[in-house]
């Protein structure tokens, strides 16, 4: 009976009801949507690298190691001797390693010296591997492969000649202009920091530095021309910066980690990427709490709007209340009627909001992924989302109590006599 009345009453004020439900719908959509974006962000963050069991670098903080080897930020403190890396590469418990030699840049983008193992073993976002959009991996000393973003940003194509700067400044004044590299490949977009780097061989990095051993540019006559380097049978590689490691078996990871961190000859750190990423996310993840707080307030504003709209309708409905009283409807049932109306509005609002998020995602998901590299999964509502939606509905019923109590008082006071 009450349900019927509440439904009809809302239907009678269709436009107001619809607008109120819509405003609640928007706030619910924001609340649920922010949660989806959070999940997407966390997932794409923690999937920046996958499939790697350990990242090894010179001794230092795990987040620092993660930053310079995976995210291309900051600089390493020290290098790892080539032989030390090679020893672990051939370790019986180690399946593969990817060496990284850092420290050079080209027009603000990092130059990474690595080997064919990078193209073979590097994984991101649930095991996707590095693919070449064009060309082939760098093999020769003076060959480079560009990350997708670098290629579009700088407008380079295959065959382009590239100079490499020593050090990370965008306008290095000590350009290795005498050693021009050639672009032989361009990577597919990964939406990870991989896109923002330039890849050469380990030998390539070494070649840039021939004559720089003292830390200063080679004196005239001491350096080597590109032709001379090319003429060398083998460019010696003496050190790398860090390496990624895949164990033969997952269970060996901890044992390997202990072994590497306690290496007595070279001070090393080995971190498990998932653990370090989690640590880092906790550090920067507080920003998303801000989003939550904001969307929480938006919900409150939506609720307040509903409260006001029901409250202001009460004056016009005094007559209706008197009729219901004359028909023997108790004041408590009048309270129930108004609370029910508010509850129904918030349920409709919540449904609209959830529907909005799903249809919005269905339409925008590919675009967001293409534009921001942010993959937002479409799935069932998570526990916390259900809690939020439930809370909004409960809050809606509670908000209905405010006008309902006012109506209760009016009904008791007016009785059967309302002068219109």
């Amino acid at each position: 009976m009450l349900l019927h009345l509440a439904r009809k009453s809302l239907g009678n004020r269709l436009l107001t009801s619809l607008l109120t439900a819509l405003s609640i719908g928007f706030s619910v959509a924001l609340l649920v949507g922010v949660e989806n974006v959070r999940t997407g962000m966390r997932e794409s963050f923690s999937n920046t690298i996958s499939g790697t069991d350990l990242i090894v670098g010179s001794r230092g903080g795990s987040i620092q190691l993660l930053l310079y080897s995976v995210f291309g930020m900051g600089t390493p403190v020290a290098n790892i001797p080539y032989d030390t890396w090679k020893a672990y590469d051939e370790h019986p418990a180690v399946s593969w390693t990817i060496p990284y030699a850092l420290g050079d840049s080209h027009r603000g983008f990092r130059v990474i010296g690595t080997n064919e193992s990078f193209y073979e073993h590097y994984r991101y976002r649930g095991g996707q591997s590095i693919e070449l959009a064009e060309g082939r991996p760098a093999e020769g000393v003076f060959e480079v492969v560009l990350g997708a973003h670098v290629a579009t940003e700088l407008g380079y194509g295959l065959g382009e000649r590239v100079a490499v700067t020593h050090g990370m400044s965008a306008v290095g004044f000590m350009n290795h202009d005498d050693l021009p590299f050639e672009v032989v490949g361009i990577l597919e977009s990964t939406f990870t920091p991989v896109d923002r780097a330039i890849y050469v061989t380990l030998e390539g990095i070494s070649a840039i530095h021939i004559g720089w051993e003292s830390g200063a540019p080679p004196m005239p006559g001491q350096g080597m021309a590109a032709e001379e380097v090319r003429a060398l049978e083998e460019v010696p590689v003496t050190q790398i910066t860090s390496f990624f490691l895949g164990a033969e078996q997952r269970v060996l990871t901890l044992q390997l980690q202990r072994e590497i961190s306690t290496n007595e000859e070279v001070p090393l750190s080995a971190v498990i990427p998932g653990v370090a990423l989690g640590e880092m996310w906790r550090g920067i993840g507080y920003a998303e709490d801000g989003l939550r707080v904001v969307s929480g307030f938006v919900v409150l504003v939506g609720m307040l709007g509903m409260l006001v709209s029901i409250y202001t309708s009460l004056e016009a409905r005094r007559r209706e209340m008197a009729i219901l009283r004359a028909l023997g409807v108790g004041p408590k049932r009048i309270v129930a009627l108004l609370v029910l109306e508010a509850g129904m509005l918030s349920i409709i609002g919540a449904a609209l909001g959830i529907g909005g998020v799903y249809s919005g995602l269905a339409i925008l998901q590919p675009w967001i992924e293409g534009q921001f590299g942010l993959y937002i999964p479409i799935g069932a509502l998570s526990g916390i989302q259900l809690v939020f939606v439930g809370a909004v509905i409960v809050l809606g019923f509670l908000a209905g109590l405010v006008p309902a109590i006012k109506a209760y008082r009016t009904a008791l006071h007016d009785g059967l006599s309302v002068r219109v």
Binding site: A326, L327, G330
Partner: protein
Amino acid sequence: MDEAPLLCVHARELRFAYPGGPPVLDIPELRIAVGESVFLHGPSGSGKTTLLGLIAGVLKPTPGTLEVLGHDLGALSSPARDRFRASHIGYVFQMFNLIPYLSVRDNIALPVRINAERRRRLNGGIDDAVAAAADRLGIAGLLNERVTRLSVGQQQRVAAARAILGTPELVIADEPTSALDTDRRHAFIELLFDSVREAGSTLLFVSHDMGLASEFERALSLRDLNRSGG
């Protein structure tokens, strides 16, 4: 009085004052027999609204006693008085009797939807009873209309149909004709009489228009009844 007739309303030493206000009602005795049609003349300010509120059980009668259909309303709790009103009393206001967002049909059906006892008194289903009541008051063709499209006269007939649905023992009509023009007043009162009589209900008809008094079995003046003079 040799044989006490069955009383529908029986008030003794009934006094009422709103909290903090002067007494508005002071009635030594009021008797309305079951099945009677009573005209109560009550000009504005005579305590008419208060008396109807008391009889309908919206207001609590203290002190004094007020029995309606043998129930001492002063002894009933507020929810019990609400239930009592729902099952035993039909009420017609001066105007604006109808819930604007319900159809004519739904408006008429309200009392039996709200109260189970009144629903049980129906002979058949709700729809049949609504149709019969509408037929009785000549509004059968309006059942599916929106109430906002009805004329005032039609609205009052819908209100009357609602008041008699489920045959309540007492029908209270509070100035039901004051919004109607003179021709229609008599027609409406005729209809109300007939349907109330058919239902076997008691009718308490309140108006300030003495010209209607002659149509009733008995006419009372609230001014004479009420010692506090409103």
